[in-house]
Amino acid sequence: MKRYLRGWSTTGVLALVAIVAVATAGVTALLVNIFERKAEATQTYVSLAEITEDTTDPAEWGINFPRQYDSYLRTAEATRTRFGGHGGSEALPEQKIERDPWLQRMFRGYAFSIDYRDRRGHAYMLVDQEQTERQTKPQTGSCLHCHASIMPLYRELGDGDAMAGFAESYKYSYKDLNAKLHDMGHGHAVSCVDCHDPDTMALRVTRPGFIYGIQALAEGGAEVPHLPTVQKWRESSRAEPYDPNVDASRTEMRSFVCAQCHVEYYCANKMPLTFPWGDGLTADNVEKFWDETTFDDGQRFFDYKHAETGAEVLKAQHPEFELWSQGIHARSGVACADCHMPYQREGASKVSDHWVRSPLLNVNRACQTCHRISEDEILARVDTIQQRNFDLLQRGGAAIVALLDAVQKAREEGATDEQIKPALELQRKAQWRLDFIAAENSMGFHAPQEAARVLGEAADYARQGQIAAMSWREGGATQAPKP
């Protein structure tokens, strides 16, 4: 050994030691890195907190599922895109009814004419609802169906049967039911338990309104090519009603959990919360459903009487699921969660992003996994679609205002209720269509062609109504065309 190393200086030996030490440290670091990556890939979750059907506090779930909870918490952050959201420093989002005065005019006689703002994230859904100035008018307990983690309260109201509790809930005032919710300790916004089974973490739907609605859709005859398991159920013996928690595919569930709330519905105190899907999901299908619905007193269904004209009009909520259903993404099997909660990678594990937000804020994960074009190009294409929709919407708004002005003028000239009626029926049809697209939260993107079709009809009906009001002496020059 001594002979072998003869000629090595002390410095040389020290240099060799240093080099080998650095190399060994490097290899060890690599080994640890590989170990960590392998551990990440095998790790599912560690159960530290006990989770049950009554665990509505997301923080409890967050103990077991910190990654999902971290991203869920970010729904409290203010985000905005060109046409939606709230990204300013102000405490509350901007008033939509001030930005678009025709909205305020259209909603006269309804609480939305008092307070109607841009949306905030999931984290604020309950607080915002408790604080809106619409609460100065009496509101129904039905509203909590979607703004709170409400299932324990439904079970309480129904003596263990949530569906029975739900059937009672519309009779309560919002204030009473909300107080009960907080007393029970369930005053939380939509939470983990609303979409996940606490034992298996499997996706599931819980909301009675949705379960009844999707059953009615399945039992109806409307075409639903984007929901293959509904079609499959229709061809089966139909011994049991369609049950999304049993029958639906995983892809469908990744939309159904969102469709528990992001839909059109009736939400007031004359009957239970109703999803109007028996005749299908298009604006026309839903209108037909409402037109054929009567209240217990036999009166035709309407959401409010317009304060200026007295027309019995419909108020569209936010039919995201319905409009998406008419679009190319639904038809191609792309679920809500694919774009709004895309998978993200953390080390070697794959987590779906629970920071539910506009895909425009997350283009690489939301769009680029399928669309292999640049982010700028994708954003430009979306902007074109939304700008066109916005322009059509504003034209529709102008047409509605013209109709309302014409009705007012006809009244001043002495038109009777009977003479003005054709114009008011057309107001109902026009407002329904305009609101269907205005209230929907994608500025037409979920189904651009369908949105344009609906807005085209809206403008047409509004102008027909204007003509009918202007020609009230002849009993209204035009009638609505038969579809």
Binding site: M1, L5, L16, V17, V20, L31, R345, K350, C370
Partner: protein
């Protein structure tokens, strides 16, 4: 005496740790053609899953399409990609979603032709032009990977 033995011991430790790291990281598997090798590090899981749903699942594994078929070209491409992949995965600093590089797209195109040349030689221009010009997968995007599987990037 200590001065003489120390470097030898240290080199031995380095070799030992290095050899163990190589085995632990399943280093030998990278010399094989087994498609499961490509999901050793899980980044390619979505690609592996979608390959299993593709029409080519029964006739081609990863290397049949993604590596040259000649010995030298194959091992050069393995080394080249192996270096890029391990560097990217260790440092976690790559573009997401992952996309094929130009040089690998050329290999892929050559491999489409390796099997299908008899059928398509009339439609494939035999001139050197932009790679995008006649890339088979531009249209036949689901041939190798079925429906595109979603997998986005880290926060």
């Amino acid at each position: 005496m200590m001065f003489v033995g120390l470097p030898a011991i240290l080199v031995g430790i380095l070799l030992g740790v290095g050899a163990y790291t190589f085995l632990y990281a399943e280093g030998l598997s990278y010399l094989s053609d087994d498609p499961e090798t490509c999901i050793n590090c899980h980044i390619m899981q979505a690609q592996y899953d979608s390959w299993q749903k593709s029409s080519h699942h029964a006739v081609a594994v990863c290397v049949d399409c993604h590596l040259p078929h000649d010995f030298l070209g194959k091992y050069f491409a393995k080394a080249d990609n192996g270096w890029h992949h391990s560097k990217a995965f260790t440092l976690q600093n790559f573009h997401e979603p992952i996309m094929i590089k130009a040089s690998n797209a050329r290999i892929l195109q050559d491999n489409c032709l390796a099997c299908h040349d008899d059928l398509v030689h009339e439609v494939v221009a035999r001139v050197d032009g932009p790679a995008e010009e006649v890339r088979c997968v531009h249209c036949h995007v689901t041939a190798g990977h079925g429906e595109t599987a979603g997998l986005g990037g880290p926060e």
